[in-house]
Amino acid sequence: MTSPQTDLTAATAGGAGADDTAEAPAATQAAGAVQAGAGGTWQALRRDVGAMLGLGYIVLVTLVAIFAPVLTSISGWTPYEFDQTAIDPNLGGMPIGPWGGMGAEHWLGVEPGSGRDIFARIVYGARVSMSIALSATLLTTVLGVSLGLLAGYFGGRVDLVVSRVMDFLMAFPALIFMIAVLSALPASNRSTLLVVVISVFGWPYLARVVRGQTMSLAQREFVEAARAAGASGARIVFREILPNLRSTIIVMSTLAVPGFIGTEAGLSFLGVGVVPPAPSWGQMIAASVKWYAVDPAYFLVPGMCLFLLVLAFTVLGDRLRAVVDAQEGR
């Protein structure tokens, strides 16, 4: 159920909640297998304040990530520039001014010790968080859906192998293993590695639900009709079954994103994620641990950004699920 590893589970938006409840729509949906139009979902979602706020923040962070170079050229500091005039060497490198040196020159203050601009690092850090989390979601979804479909539709030996692999991966102490692998591998291309490692341990949660639904969909009349009409296995799986899984896949993928954002930040926090000096929110928070008592703004800024992004995806996913459930007559 839960990814049973260490406390990263709690850190990454409670994997428990996301997984368990996902079983419920699985059952009802397979029974119903009615496709509500995407338009209806959007209409219902648009009336939900929480979902819209979440979506708004996600769009904002995405835009910030895309236009990072433009934004930093307006603010005037790149994420790698040291500003010795913004820190006080007599106070051990504390930022000059209240709230960690926030002001017209440095919008969100500067890092104590180095004087690097926090706004620039946040903006570029958003690129890291978003690109890693979204790529991991994409890869997890592709893996989870295709393996789940394979196991559910073909059954037999295929199902046995896929299910065993899933059981194994879910019982595996994934966090420790991820950290160990990442620390042992050369640091040249950490972002890609992070995506691969997160996805390898992430797909079984989606695949399990897809497999269950596929098994029950495969028994339905419309699949039988397609088979009688001479459709090939691939055609049945992709044209007949897959469209019926659409809402499940969208809901589960949305709910997986916050977990991946948290995992990336957590791994960077532990020093095995994105390699410095490339900025990442988790890494910024890790660097702020030494300064938390004297410069709280230093951990509050990246901490807030990270928390709000995770919250935004969690709320959006949660509301999306509620809407989909309601449409399928729950």
């Binding site: 839960t2 709690a10 850190a11 428990a16 928070i285 008592a293």
Partner: protein, 330 residues
Amino acid sequence: MPRFLLTRVSSGLMVLLLVCLFTYLVFFALSPDPAVQICGKNCTPELIDQIRGNLGLDQPFWTQFFLFVVGIFAGRTYGDGAGAVECAAPCLGYSFQSSQAVWDMIVQRLPVSATVAIGAAVLWLLAGLVGGLLSAVKEGTFLDRFTTGLTLTSMSIPNYVLALVLQYVLVVQLQWLPFPQAVRFADDPVQWFLNFVMPWMVLAIGYAAAYTRLTRANVLDVLRENYVRTAYAKGLPQSLVWRRHALRPALTPIVTIFGMDFAGLLGGALITETVFGINGVGKMAADSIARNDQPVIMGVTLLAGFLVVVGNMVVDVVYTAIDPRVRVNA
């Protein structure tokens, strides 16, 4: 029953063996030569060869792996002749850094991790069950919506951010808690207890939120069952319906998840222990990863896997005891 237990134990052992093999494989393939690492300064090629011979690193992969597995059950002897070192039964090798036996290191730190895990578990079970039941009873009211919002928020706070916020607010600003200090329970029980308050809270909050949601969803599901309606129709008072008919089936799934979560935490809360400087298994793992101390990482990974597998088995046994529906096919 014995046959059921036998399958469980053998599949659990399989998972452990695979965890072992994968971790070993990763280190075998990826790690820099440990002999060079141990040898340190003033090293000669002859010395490296000697260390390799003593640790069995000159053997082919499968021999090394076999010796490692045998060592866990029967102990093993490193080197030969006068310099031989006897490693007693649960032999996980020796730390490259401190030359301590890995098993002893784990045994030393496990009580600390257990203290962290037990305290947190008590907190999150209480909060989760009470919160979930309350919002199920008051479904749709303000309290219910408030709880739902609160759980989404708590699930989204990365626990290292929460750790820093708590430390800043409770220790630095309000001074309600003393600064964490390493003390023995016997010397200063009050300080000892207060040291654990923040880690407990930080670990518990994410799980508490997940358990609240799960409890609420399960209770609401059960209350829609036909047999609950029948119980009401028979004229049973509400309190009796809840106690006899609703709570038991609603709470059994929580046992499953609790077993896995708790077992996972026993194997070390990496981030929380690191942030608060608690000398448990998790911090040991984080430290040894930073120093590439392969035997210790192996040991902790195996321990975590072992705890999850044992946790699953215990859950299965407990499940058959509390859920009569499972007993029949067992």
